[in-house]
Symmetry: D2
């Protein structure tokens, strides 16, 4: 269900990127293009947050409750890693 939402948003984002290509091809004003790119990035951040939310409620719960300490460690480290990649850490 969540995936349907993520997929639908990604399809919209793909259309948004095509719109930015058109703007560049038609020589739109630079600042307007940059603003549209920033809007695309905000939409992508929303998809990431949505997917992370689903991940925490499924894979993470399974790993934390499971018997494999390596698997648990891997899942927890990945979450810190995507947080680091989203910042300058």
């Amino acid at each position: 269900m969540k995936n349907e939402d993520a997929l639908r948003r990604l399809k919209n984002i793909e259309g948004h990127v095509r719109g930015v290509e058109r703007m560049v091809a038609e020589g739109a004003y630079c600042i307007d293009v940059i603003r549209q790119i920033q809007a695309v990035e905000a939409a992508l951040d929303k998809v990431s947050a949505l997917i992370l939310e689903g991940h925490l409620h499924s894979c993470l719960i399974t790993a934390v409750r499971g018997d494999d300490p390596d698997e648990r460690e891997r899942v927890l480290t990945e979450i810190t890693d995507v947080f680091k990649a989203a910042t300058r850490a």
Copy 2:
């Protein structure tokens, strides 16, 4: 010329987004999807920087050397605005 580069990069980004859609549709691992989204965002940031660079070397120079103080002010404010939008300011 710069625009050709921006356009080519945006077409690649569009393909990259389609790749992420495919990953989601095929049930790829959540963290791998988030990492690909972060890669798309980094590629978009590069396009923004490229377009800003071109803007500073053309529109900005024209506005700053021109006789219209309102136009100059507008162009300078826009640059601060896209910087603010790229951060939390």
Copy 3:
């Protein structure tokens, strides 16, 4: 132990901020000031990542293994929230 590390880093960051104040008071070049502010932010992001890592390995594990579904939900939602706040989501 982790907290000692976070505290030590925060004290360094406080000193770094004082250094930036000195630069501004002495009329340092604007771009150099902005670069130092960006360095302070990168150092803060590292502290956040460190604290998040500790949180996932303690509070989160306790909440996910615990018997209180509301508490578990709260802890999972908070993690998505700090991720959202770190991005544009």
Copy 4:
């Protein structure tokens, strides 16, 4: 004048960082600490935007109207560079 504003904000930020140190020393809840760090970063981004705004209205105008193409190029490149550092470009 602008510098007075930046300096005053930086002093507040220094106090804010000391507050975060106190939270960590007293064992405050991890997520509350991360949220305060994110607030400090937002405040720092505002100072950067303020300083950039002043820079564009002074150094940049001087450089763009001046007779030294190398100096102009340097100033324009620096602006793209701080934009890149503020993003993932």
